[in-house]
Symmetry: D2
Subunit: 359 residues, 4 copies
């Protein structure tokens, strides 16, 4: 259980990091959407390992194949299954973790819950699982763009203590992709890069914050009371590996203001209701208000490090784990497209829900 997301644009991911393949089934995609593998591959390439020196060097092409649901270049309205073969399976690299629980990894909890775990890799807890999410999100993004011109841009705003300055109202995908950190503030990006490189060489890791903005979101998305737009966004983003926090609009910082400072004043602009400020982050009462939806996700430093760490074995004996080989010193650059695509899944699902109830 738990591998399906969405009510109407229903996404089910499957696959262990070192099994035959990973993939996704999307049920509920509207028919007649132009769709082919390049639409999906483009997004997958952004999350692929080995893109730059600061991300994991696992060798995977992550080439996607559409197995169903598309006919003569258009969606049929039937389930779309997309598959990516696993190529870099090296179970021998994992023999040590068959016996020892890696700190702050899911080894122990999977073992405790299921009484079995795919030790030859991270199994479902591997970041590799997000391939299915990104593939599905690529479809959602396309629907949102074609139907409403929705633009979703995520970017790194913090790496460890380094904080960037970015204007979510204006930031562009081009700016984000202009450097391998995916931070549109170039000065900050340069410092972040040095910090990540230092962590990489030390066999250590760093975390940070990814911010995401969705612009041109139609007014009216979100279903009170439990399926508020921000609640579903929070769930989507807190389901990502290594995420520890979520904020929308003013977030934790907004708690330091008086109500009289925090409230977003309504004005008419361009013939429609707008707000002078956007502390609400584009959402009021759980429903989008037409302003940019702005949110942030905190990612802890990656648990896999190459420094020696104390731990226990599966038999409850003390042990030392010495990381080896490849590690991902900073998950943030590759998290950027994943965040965007998760946001797309939520918005697309609510777009269809809105059509059903209020269309």
């Amino acid at each position: 259980m738990g591998s399906t997301f969405g009510q109407l644009f229903r996404v089910t991911t499957w696959g262990e990091s070192h099994g035959g393949a990973v993939g996704v089934v999307v049920d509920g995609c509207p028919p007649r959407l132009r769709l082919s593998e390049p639409d999906i591959q483009e997004e997958l390439d952004r999350r692929r390992p080995g893109q730059s020196r600061i991300v994991t060097q696992r060798q995977e092409e992550d080439h996607c194949e559409i197995m169903s649901g598309v006919f003569e270049g258009r969606t049929l309205g039937t389930p779309i299954c997309i598959l990516v073969w696993n190529k870099d399976a090296r179970p021998e690299a994992y023999l040590e973790i068959k016996k020892k629980f890696r700190p702050s990894h899911a080894d122990f909890t999977y073992e405790a819950k299921y009484g079995i775990r795919a030790w030859a890799g991270g199994g479902r807890a591997s970041a590799r699982e997000t391939i299915g999410r990104v593939a599905a999100g690529a479809i959602a993004k396309k629907i949102l763009r074609e139907r409403c011109g929705v633009e979703i841009v995520a970017y790194v705003t913090q790496v460890k203590d380094l904080v960037a300055k970015v204007n979510p109202g204006r930031v562009s995908a081009r700016q984000v992709e202009s450097n391998i950190v995916r931070c549109p503030d170039r000065a900050a990006a340069a410092k972040m890069l040095r910090l990540i490189d230092r962590a990489r060489r030390a066999g250590d890791s760093v975390g940070g914050v990814v911010e995401c903005v969705a612009r041109n979101v139609p007014v009216g998305l979100g279903d009170p009371v439990f399926d508020k737009l921000e609640a579903d966004l929070a769930k989507a983003l807190m389901s990502l590996p290594a995420s520890k926090g979520f904020e929308i609009g003013s977030g934790f910082g907004g708690t330091r203001m008086f109500g009289s400072e925090h409230n977003d004043i309504f004005v008419m602009r361009g013939g429609r209701e707008r707000t002078l400020t956007n502390r609400s982050g584009g959402v009021q009462g759980g429903i989008s208000n037409g302003e940019p939806v702005v949110m942030r996700v905190a990612f802890k430093p990656t648990a896999t490090i190459l420094l020696p760490q104390r731990t226990v074995t599966v038999d409850g004996k003390p042990a030392v784990l010495k990381g080896r080989g490849r590690h991902d010193p900073c998950v943030l650059p590759r998290a950027v497209p994943v965040v965007e695509n998760m946001v797309a899944l939520v918005l697309c699902d609510h777009l269809l829900r809105q059509a059903a109830q209020c269309g």
Copy 2:
């Protein structure tokens, strides 16, 4: 849509703040649980308006009635409907907001989404809707306590800039209830009280942070990959009115550490795997690891204030809104039991899910 929460312990709330009644239907409650109205009333009394001078003075007894699902003092395994009559309906107090959108309220978005809104009160967006959540949570809490000894304690840790010191491993419900702010750090609580009083007198409002800890949570709750425990907790808590942020474990602060500092080292203690630190917040890979589950929710300052504010009318004309009558200068003390009960809903649902798949 959107008024149901949970997969197996399914909670559906209903009711507008000024309709006939508000309530909840709980489907999936295990049979033969002792349950009667006082079990629920106790929790409702903690969220009731008018408990102290710092919360809204709306006059409601909020007396609950169990309408179904209980027979001779025990649950039947059938849907439990609980109802609370609305008594303090004063539509005339709302005539102004029939015409003007209140800033940072849900008036505009409901109107835009549905083309209609229950202007005589906040409708579904009112905090009154949380009565149903608390009533259902009271049942969930009881199941968790009786089956596993789970203890859930929430408390205020921040009001505006004032930050309390609390040890989530030891804090008790008694300490929380010892003052009307529901902050177990007495020194901080005294300062917070003065601040809230000042805001109240000024017709303004303040926000802050509620922290919640769940102790004795069994190992193994949470369903990767989308229904991770922290993802469902985030959704539950971000669906509360006025919440703008969620953190688990180290949260946003943890992003400032190196991986080598952040990782929770495993040790054997009391014959089972424990972690030396709890930066994970009791959850690894989306599954509870037996450590206390610790999370925080940011609440913005309440949108309702008594100071004059600019806004627009439903016809798109500029206007000034002058708050009147009662307001809630700080939502936090009453949010405390709501947070606890939402956490209980998530944990109870996952307890049943765990029994289904791995029991």
Copy 3:
């Protein structure tokens, strides 16, 4: 679990036959639909006990109250809770069945499943639970009628061995309501009435068949592959108390034909694709084809009879159960509105689903 029906027009019924009340919550109803209690009461009156001498004489007015989701005579798009108080609670009439399992009733299975049962009446297994379904169905019917002119008519076509002749293409609600059997074939109805009366006087019961036709159903409702329209209709109608069989179109009789006889030939008529015959019953490949949707439900003779029957006690001792007081010699006339309203729930849900995916 199990008390919710529908994906987008979500109906949750609650209530035991002898608890405080029975009712329903409808989530997902489109906003701005004119709705008031008489819309619902009209349907409830058709299923009410005591309408005629051939149905149970339990004294209930079954007066409905809308508790939420409607404001100034229109739906808000929020959950609609409808409640009917139980008035005729006479637990003493049930003391015998506290100790003895009634044959072909749900007493034994509820006891075995839940370890507890609401012996003071049939609990959830009582036909009284269908009040919530009918109340929700009344709303669904109204949506279908206003949006697409859908007309749903059910009627009795068989009582024990007596079979009526009815043309589903033309039968009207007025014809159905013209006699207390609710069989539009007047000659058959007269015979059926005599048969039911005989069973009533003998303390026995009879079963039969209810046929239902839905006309003007838009082309395109139904979601392959599991949520085919006929599959959801079958589930809806097989979830009614006492139903033992379901057919659509040619049903079991159609199995006796060759494919060359059974296939429905397409022709153009009125500018659109029609079929010369309707053995498909308005559904092909799980999707409505614009022809009348015609289905039949088999109801066994009511289990409650007044004749003495062998059984066992809850302690596993042989016993004799002697029915007493009121019984329902033929459930069919009251099943007619329930069937109609269940069909309305399925069609309305699929209408919204269709709008979401293909709208």
Copy 4:
């Protein structure tokens, strides 16, 4: 939407008959179940085309591959994806149906609903989609057998007018598999075979009835009120291609009895409550009572025939369709394993639900 079945043992099928592959994702399978491809292949081989002269001669090996969810021969508790490649894709065989709607097929309704259809084969409406169901059902069957000794046997009891005599209490899988009709009454089977052969040579088709019995079903499965066991069985079986009717226990025949004849008398036998007769078909009040669950499905004669038929083109012109090549004169023998596996899916899902709520 509509390609997922089950609440806890969640099955999502995907794939068109002439796309790359067909398959299924099973989410919620308990961990540590021994599972490998032969477990699934065995069931797939029973539904494969080309097994005998009386079924379609399409050439497919239908060799399954487990892509995920199994590690070292045991299930991980994570989603199990199973894939079968399509080999016999011959789009040119379908050029005629690109232009003409086949009578009583899903061509017209898919085109009308989605505005597009996979004309090169039956798409999702093809019986080939049931491969995913059978693969998932093979897992469900294994769980049911290992946990509770549940035995599920389906068989043909009627072909056109020919009716077999079978005792559902005793019939064995070996008897069913003893002839290619899959009818355990050998005398009837011989006659059925001649009838099917005649239809085959004439280019025509015949339908009939498949009966299915599940023995050793634990008491207590089924969730009142909407998810009654018989309701979910009805939905499962009415979602199969070509099914037009469903009965449980006494079914339509039972409507001809008096209540005093129909009621199943309780007696103690073997230390537990049993019924003398089984007109209820193993289900009372929607919950299994420990007696064999017995149900029947009506299958219409296959729509594909080789005789010329009138129809219309996609442009609304009259036309004649002349079947060509292969056809399936009688779907029943291959439907037998599909029925068994759908029943297994329902029972397995309810077994897990029962563990969750009442375990």
